[in-house]
């Protein structure tokens, strides 16, 4: 298990990093007007006047008891904040991944089958443009067009219940999904071409199988392996990319919380979120490996 030392190192790194940040929580929370005594008192209340090793020791000790501390600015337990917001970001990320895959797979297959034709060029061109534009720009354009102009989708927010989430998060998920799809299409197209020219596809055709059977059983199944691996690698980026999407679409997720915490010098929140990210990303890698080994019998789990 290499995971635990990695986590500890991550925590120590973050612990030191956040304390390197210029400005302290008191500065961030109290604003410009606070007097010197108030700043001092606040720091004392937060235990920030103690030596760093002591602070880290206390942090680890509390961590082992499942306590991530209280947010300095929001004054609620970090664990509760994460419990409230992580599902939102996860929902968004998974939603985006689903949209991205739904978008990328058919188009990548189409581009691969029609490779080097105008269809291929069009698909690749459109996604290339999508990939060259900043996320917030794409987000705002989608929002303006599909949200405000056409009124098909609500502008921002998270919605209530599963269908509410699906409806409200469609545009942000699409924004992220488009970005992901652009990455996927590039790789997937090549991997489909590779599969299409593989000997076993020739063999399948020589067997006289129908085109649809060849496509689904032989081509897609193999192309999916590449997709899953790629998705796993990109999920971290997806969560990171949510920082901006969450701001634009007013979604109360952990991405935005993290940025606010960094700006607000909310040490406990930064530390808690880092740990969460590390756990989530590791889990995603694990799940990717599991799925991969499911899809690809050649892979043995290590």
């Amino acid at each position: 298990m290499q995971i635990i030392p990695t986590f500890l190192a991550v925590m120590l790194l973050v612990f030191l990093l956040v304390r390197l940040l210029p400005g302290d929580p008191a500065s961030a929370v109290l604003g410009d007007r606070a007097t010197a005594e108030i700043v001092e008192r606040t720091n004392r209340e937060l235990g920030l006047d103690r030596p760093l090793p002591v602070q880290f020791g206390l942090f680890v000790q509390r961590l082992l008891q499942g306590d991530l501390g209280d947010s300095i600015s929001l004054k609620v337990p970090v664990l509760r904040l994460i419990a409230e917001r992580l599902p939102v970001t996860l929902f968004l990320s998974v939603y985006a991944a689903v949209l991205g895959v739904l978008l990328a797979v058919p188009l990548a297959v189409l581009a691969a089958v029609r490779r080097n034709t105008w269809v291929d060029a069009l698909i690749r061109g459109v996604f290339q443009v999508g990939l060259s534009l900043p996320v917030f720009y794409v987000a705002l354009q989608l929002l303006t067009l599909l949200g405000a102009r056409l009124g098909w989708f609500p502008i921002g927010g998270y919605g209530e219940g599963f269908t509410g989430h699906l409806y409200h998060l469609f545009l942000p998920a699409l924004t992220l999904g488009l970005n992901l799809a652009a990455v996927l299409v590039r790789t997937l197209r090549n991997s489909v071409i590779e599969v299409l020219t593989a000997e076993y596809v020739s063999f399948a055709r020589a067997k006289g199988l129908r085109g649809r059977v060849i496509m689904t059983r032989h081509v897609l199944r193999n192309a999916l392996i590449a997709t899953v691996t790629l998705l796993g690698l990109n999920i971290g980026g997806l969560i990171g990319g949510a920082v901006i999407t969450e701001s634009v679409f007013a979604i109360p997720g952990v991405g935005r919380l993290m940025v606010d915490a960094i700006f607000g010098r909310d040490y406990p929140v930064i530390q808690g979120l880092t740990l969460t990210f590390a756990v989530v990303v590791s889990l995603v890698f694990l799940v990717t490996d599991l799925i991969h080994s499911r899809l690809d019998p050649r892979v043995e789990l290590n």
Binding site: G23, S27, L30, T35, R41, L74, G157, A250
Partner: protein, 502 residues
């Protein structure tokens, strides 16, 4: 006015901590009086006070006693009675010297005694600011029983617990709060104030705050009808929204003053000489600042030039102040008279990500370039900026101020008094202002006080410890259906008599 309905209002950020005494941020302050009513209330124009929970207040002739009469039958939002004991407990909590950042506003109170409906405040000294202080959020009245029943070992822990589900005496009561997402305030059925229909306020069944950090999204949501109101409209879009027939683009007068704070000390934190310690240099920069141009470029014509360090909406603002009209020749001659005739480089701390700061400073770069001053913009995030500022480690920084209390004493104590926070860390110090201020804090005559303040403003202007820029309003866009909403100059959002056209 029609009753009922829900107002959905877009805020740019969520509240943090709904305790009237222990909170720190405008995000809380500006909505707190909807939850916790105060004994007195600021008037809508921000210049005076009016009765609140107390229907009457009388000062003794020596100014050392203030007697307030509570309205009969007051209730908290849970239906329990609001008694004198609650008032005493709340004021005592708020004025404890180590309680929060605001306790000093009630520092003149010596004792609070209650008998029946009468609350008597015995003062250590006459205090002309006390009525305004009692109309300020930190003097909000809380239910002593509920608060002390909240879980927690000490006041701080109880406050955290209570603030999660606060019960107050204001027109609304918190009913739902998903942090960072939305907050719903429900009508408090026990609120004392009556509407024009003779029934108890508020008209609205509820107010729902949606948290939408991105300006554009907030506006889009308003335009799409998903919101009926949105705060912090970027000034660049005011004109556009004014043209929108479905919206009222309101520019509520505010106490907001935008300035650049200068470090007036002879040497900087890093030991180098500071050109800004020369009053002529400071004046020169002030004269070289074309406020009208800035108002056009930065505030899109919505602001107005600052002529005093305090806003024109602040009580005792001296309208005869001239400020620093744009005068390049004068600026040049002032600079020529100083050690820095050839110009110099000066760096300014700006808040990263603030479009307004950027607009302002890039414009100033150009303007000051005309007198040979090279402005270097140093963008840092807010926390860093505050930390450097607090350590006096800056040359210039952008700053804005709004009053929390309906009195000039607050801004004066910060901007002009060294003893508080070194005159907003400029290092400015004037014995005359110190003396005048001390006198004014006990001066019961409004006229005398006004003349004291006129002098303070003049002395301050002559020393020019800051760059005078402009005052800006609170830009709030509302659906045409929304009536009776006001954001008072202090910033408080007043939803008590807001109603929606059906």
């Amino acid at each position: 006015a029609t009753r009922g309905g829900q107002l959905v209002y877009g805020r740019y950020a969520d509240s943090l901590f709904l305790d009237p005494v222990l909170n720190d941020a405008n995000l809380d302050i500006w909505i707190l009086t909807n939850l916790y009513d105060t004994l007195l209330q600021p008037t809508a124009d921000g210049k005076g006070v009016q009765p609140g929970l107390a229907s009457r207040y009388v000062a003794s002739s020596d100014g050392k006693t203030l007697t307030l009469t509570l309205r009969p039958g007051l209730k908290f939002a849970d239906g329990s009675a609001l008694t004198g004991a609650d008032v005493k407990w709340s004021l005592d909590r708020a004025r404890k010297p180590d309680a929060g950042a605001w306790s000093s506003s009630l520092a003149s109170i010596d004792t609070v005694t209650v008998s029946g409906n009468t609350v008597t405040l015995k003062l250590k000294r006459p205090d002309p600011t006390l009525p305004a202080a009692l109309a300020t959020f930190n003097a909000g009245i809380m239910p002593q029983k509920l608060f002390t029943a909240a879980p927690g070992k000490n006041d701080a822990e109880k406050a955290k617990a209570f603030a999660e589900k606060p019960i107050g005496s204001g027109p609304f009561v918190l009913s739902e709060w998903k942090r960072g997402s939305y907050m719903v305030l429900k009508r408090n059925p026990y609120y004392w104030k009556k509407g024009d229909d003779g029934k108890a306020l508020p008209y609205l069944d509820s107010v729902r705050f949606e948290i939408i950090p991105d300006d554009n999204t907030r506006i889009l949501k308003l335009q799409a009808g998903e919101l009926q109101g949105a705060e912090f409209i970027p000034l660049s879009r005011v004109a556009e929204l004014k043209r929108n027939a479905a919206l009222d683009m309101e520019l509520f007068p505010s106490t907001k003053v935008n300035s650049i704070l200068m470090n007036n000390r002879p040497t900087l934190k890093n030991g180098t000489d500071n050109p800004l310690s020369d009053v002529r240099v400071r004046q020169a920069l002030n004269y070289a600042t074309n406020k009208d141009a800035l108002i056009q470029v930065v505030t899109y014509g919505t602001g107005k030039p600052m002529t005093s360090y305090m806003s024109s909406t602040t009580p005792l603002f001296d309208s005869s102040q001239k400020g620093f009209p744009y005068d390049l020749a004068k600026a040049k001659s002032l600079l020529a008279a100083s050690k820095y005739k050839g110009g110099f480089e000066v760096s300014v701390l700006a808040t990263s990500g603030s479009a307004d700061d950027l607009a302002l400073l890039t414009a100033l770069q150009q303007m000051w370039g005309a007198i040979g001053v090279r402005l270097k913009i140093e963008q840092v995030d807010a926390a860093t900026k505050t930390a450097r500022y607090r350590a006096n480690d800056f040359q210039m920084r952008t700053a804005a101020w709004t009053n929390d209390i309906n009195d000039p004493s607050q801004i004066t104590s910060y901007y002009a008094l060294f003893d508080n926070i070194e005159s907003v860390h400029t290092g400015f110090k004037s014995a005359e202002i110190d003396k005048l201020f001390a006198q004014s804090q006990q001066e019961l005559s409004r006229i005398t006080r006004a003349s004291q303040y006129r002098r303070i403003q003049s002395v301050y202007a002559a020393a020019a410890p800051i760059i005078y820029l402009y005052e800006t309003p609170y830009p709030v866009a509302l659906s045409k259906k929304v009536n009776g909403f006001v954001q008072i100059p202090l910033g408080n959002n007043i939803f008590a008599s807001t109603w929606l056209t059906k």
